[in-house]
Structures are given as C-alpha cells and as structure tokens.
C-alpha cells in the first residue's frame, strides 16, 4: 500500500543507522517481567561483545527485579522477530548478525516472581 497524495511522496526514512555515529539501536525485552513498563531502547556499538553490553547496561537496568541476579546470559532463550535465535554472547553484535533496530527478547523459564 502507498500513501494517497497529490504529488509524488517519496519514502524517506529518518532513522537509518547512519544517524547513530557508528552505533546502532537495539531493543531489549524480558518476557513476563512486567515490572519494566516497556522494552528498553539502547544504542551499542556493533563491535561491542554482547555479554559486555549486557553486563554493563542491561543488568543494571533490570536490577530492581527480584529475579535479576539469577539471570545467566548463556542460558536464556533468545527470540528475535518472534523466532528463537542463538546468540553467542561472547561475540559482538555484528558477529551475531544483530542489526540496527533489532528487538531481542529473552526468556527465563521458571523465573516469574512478580508477574506470574
């Protein structure tokens, strides 16, 4: 479908990776952990190791949840665009094929202290 317009109305995205100074947007959501009202938006460098980013940025963000300490990044189940994916957290975002504006959901079965 295309917008109905009087004159040609080109598709001009304003949110491409080129606007992020070498970094890229990555979204995160912890399934069934609704203490956090919405998925997080973050902006890591594609060359950062995923685990480094998780420890430096995501773990502090989720720290208030009573389950947070028990999260082991190597055991969580990852989902991208409704499909399970394997992430080698020891490698970088680009090595894992994680692109600009990907949403990464992680599931921690058995952990749902607050929002069962």
């Amino acid at each position: 479908m295309a917008v109905v317009a009087l004159k040609p109305y080109p598709l001009r995205p304003v949110d491409g990776i080129e606007h992020y100074h070498g970094d890229q947007l990555v979204y995160w959501s912890w399934d069934h952990h609704l203490m956090f009202a919405a998925p997080f938006i973050t902006c890591p460098s594609p060359s950062t190791r995923v685990v480094d980013f998780l420890e430096a940025t995501i773990r502090p963000l989720i720290a208030a949840d009573p389950d947070a300490d028990r999260v082991d990044w190597t055991c969580v189940e990852w989902i991208r665009d409704h499909e399970p994916i394997a992430i080698d957290v020891g490698k970088s975002f680009s090595e894992n094929g994680i692109g600009h504006k990907d949403l990464l959901r992680f599931r921690t079965p058995g952990m749902n202290t607050l929002c069962g």
Partner: protein, 509 residues
Amino acid sequence: MDMKVQKAKLGLKEKYRLMTRDLGWTPSYQPHEKLYPYAAYEGIVIHDWDKWEDPFRLTMDAYWKYQAEKDRKFYAIIDAHAQNNGHLNITDARYLSALKIFLQAISPGEYCAHKGFARAGREFPGVGTQVACQMQSIDELRHAQTQIHALSSYNRYYDGFHAFIQMRDRMWYNSVPRSFFDDAMTGGPFEFMVAIGFSFEYVLTNLLFVPFMSGAAYNGDMATVTFGFSAQSDEARHMTLGLECIKFILEQDPANLPIVQRWLDKWFWRGLRLLSLVGTMMDYMLPKRVMSWAEAWEIYAEDNGSALFKDLARYGIRPPKGWKDAAKARDHISHQFMLAFYQWSFGTAFHGWIPSEADLDWLSSKYPETFDRHYRPRWDYFKKLADAGTQFRNVGLAKLCQCCQMPCVFTEPDDPTLLCHRERVIDGHRYHFCSDHCREIVEHEPEKYVQAWMPMNQLFQGTSGGGGIENWMRWVNLVDGKDNGDFVGSRDQRNFAAWRGMATSNNGT
C-alpha cells in the same frame, strides 16, 4: 403602501441559504480545481455539494451574541478564581498532575483543530461545509485560549505548567498527541474531517470531556469546570457537524465507503491510544473519583458507540477493526500507564506516586478481573522498595510505537503477562509497533510514518539538546527536582499543604 405587508415571509431554511451557500458562485476566470486544488486527490467523490444539510443554522450575528455571553461568564469566573486563591479549593495537589497533562497535551491539540478547520474551511468546495468548518475553527481557537487562560493562575503557583509551549514540541510523551494531530492535518480535507470532526469529536470527545470535567467538579477545580462547560455547547455543534459530514460523504457515492471505513479503522485506534491517557487520569490522578475508566468506556464508547455504528450500518459501515481489542484492553491500560509514569517520573513534567491502600482497594473493586491478579502485586512491590528507601526508578528509555508514539507498554490482547511486540521491515528499515492495528496503519501509508519524529531515537541521535539527560532536561525546559519526580516530597505537595494550612488556620494576612 407598506412594503412589509407585501413581502412573503421567508422560511428559516431559505433565509439561511441566502445567508450562506448563495454567497458562493461557480468560477469562470479560474478553473474550479485551481481554487480548490486539494478537494479531489483523496478519492472521495462528491456529486452535489448542495445536498449538504446544514447541521445548525447559525449566522455571524447570532454567533457573536451567544459566544460573547458565554465568554463574559467564563472570564468573570476565572478572574474571581485567580483573585480568591481558587486553586486552594482543589482536593489535593496530586490532582494537578491531570491538569499539567491536559495543558501540555490537549490544549495544543485544540490549536491544531483550529488550524486544521481553517484549512478545511477553505478547501471544501461547498459553502455550507466551509461555513461550518470556519465556525469550528474559531471555536477551537477559543478552547485553546480559554484553557491557557484558566490554567495560567495554576502556573503561577505550581510546577509543571510553565513550559507547556516548549514541551508541546519536545517532550517525549507529548509526541503522542502531537503526532495524532499532525497526522490528521497532513491528510487531505476529507480525512481531516473524518479524523477530527467525526472520530475524535463525535466518537471519543465525550470520553475526554464528560469524565474529565466531572472529575474537575468533584475535586474542587472551578477553573477547569468552567472552561469545560463553556466549551460544551461548542462541542455539541462540532459533533453534529462531524456526523453530518460522514453521512454526506457516504450518501454521495458508493466508492467513498471503503475509503471512509479505512479512515474510521485508523482514527478510532489512534484516538483510543490518545485517550488512554485520560483513563490514567481518571483512575489514578483524581483524589476524589467520579467513575472508573472501565465504566466510562462502557457508557461512552461501548453503549453509545454501538448505537452509532448500528445507525451507520445502513451505509455499509461496520464497527472499527480495533473495536474488540479496545474492549479487551479496557481493564488494563490505565494501570499499565500509571505504573509506567511512576517508574519514569524523572522524565515527566508532572508527578507520579504509589496509590494509597484505600486507592488500591478502590481499583481492586473496579477492576475485579485484572487488578489483584496483575497490577496490585507490582504496586505492592514498588511500595516495598520505596519503604526500604530504594525507590524504583526505571532509567531505561522506552521503545516507542512508530505509529501512535506511545511507549510499548501494552500487553498481548489475550495474554496480560506478555508485552505485545510487533515489527515490520519496510524498504530495508525495521519498525516497531504497539499493536496489530498500529502496524496496519503504517503498512497502509509507510511513506508517511517512516518520517515520524521519534523522541527516544532522537535522543540517541544526539539531536535533543546534545546528548545526556541534563542537556535533554534543559532542552525541554524541565526543571529537575521540581517539575518531575515523585509527588511525595515535591514542592507542589509542600506548598499546597502550607498554603492550605494558612487558610484553614486563618493565619494569613
């Protein structure tokens, strides 16, 4: 011979015709489409503008007279309110959060309606329609101005009001109403009319005004009550115009039906998302409550709305696509929002708080299916953290919906334990949505929505004050420690208590 005797008495309808549509003419020095260049491209076919029935017959002399009477009363009341410290009559300073959201988010929308109806009042080729739109245009200017005037005295005493102009353009949550009105205004005249005149004014305005204004009355806010009631007779006209317009379009040509139906689907959903904010105000921000959002939704949307769509069924119109999902969300959204505002209160120009035990009990009773099961445990936990001196602040920024610009706080329609995630790649770029309906809206007009100004993404692009939270606060005119944060311990709370104390103990001078 007395001329008056000979004159045939003109019927009201004929007289009004001479006062309005007879003024127009068919141009011959310029082609019609040169004078009305935006009337055709949306695909709406109008065969005969004369079939337009004037929804109300108001000439300018009568308009000036009625409106002046209302305005005299309105300004007399708010003058007295300002002089007599009327703001101290409100039940509790928590109530001010609702007014702050109103001034930042809704009053600028009134101005957009003013501007949009001026454009529609020029672009429609039918004089009757133009006159009705023009009157609505100055009415909407009136609403913006009376609201700014009524809330001006609150601004002198309380935080969170002072920068509504800057925040209209820069504050992340105001991007929700702004994108809503920008969307309607960048459509052609017919879409604007269906979006604002019909979907917003006719289907949803009652949900905004009636509960909000009764809430103001219950909570001792005479200034807001006054602008609300003063606007009501205008709104009655606007609703009639919206309904007349949609019937007129549908009666003109069968080809208009699918276009109008899609607009109804779109604008019902966008309007619903916008009004979820009102639900939050009703359930959480009124110290003395009128009714719950769920109850208001039942009366003003489900009952009135189904009657309306039954009526429109004879034109082939069916209820909007999002209707069922809206009903499913009814018992959830206000809680999802208030929990969100509470954890992000460092970034809002109004205060959040944890509801008291009595408030939580009220919510449990109003939302027996959902509150105790899903939301009360979260509030209890937040309270535990706050009591322990480790108040929960979510410093993570939120993923926004590319369409409605809400943070994606909504859960799956059929699973309240899981956030709803929707995405789509369009021309190599990935976009995220809060719901199926928002995604569908974007899929229909991708060229439009890929340009949206997304405040969270812009923060990372470094365009919003130059990066960093302090720069951002300066850029939105947010005064840290005053405008934002928890109500408990806020300057508004302290001042209100002190001033009320002076009044009740008569220590004033």
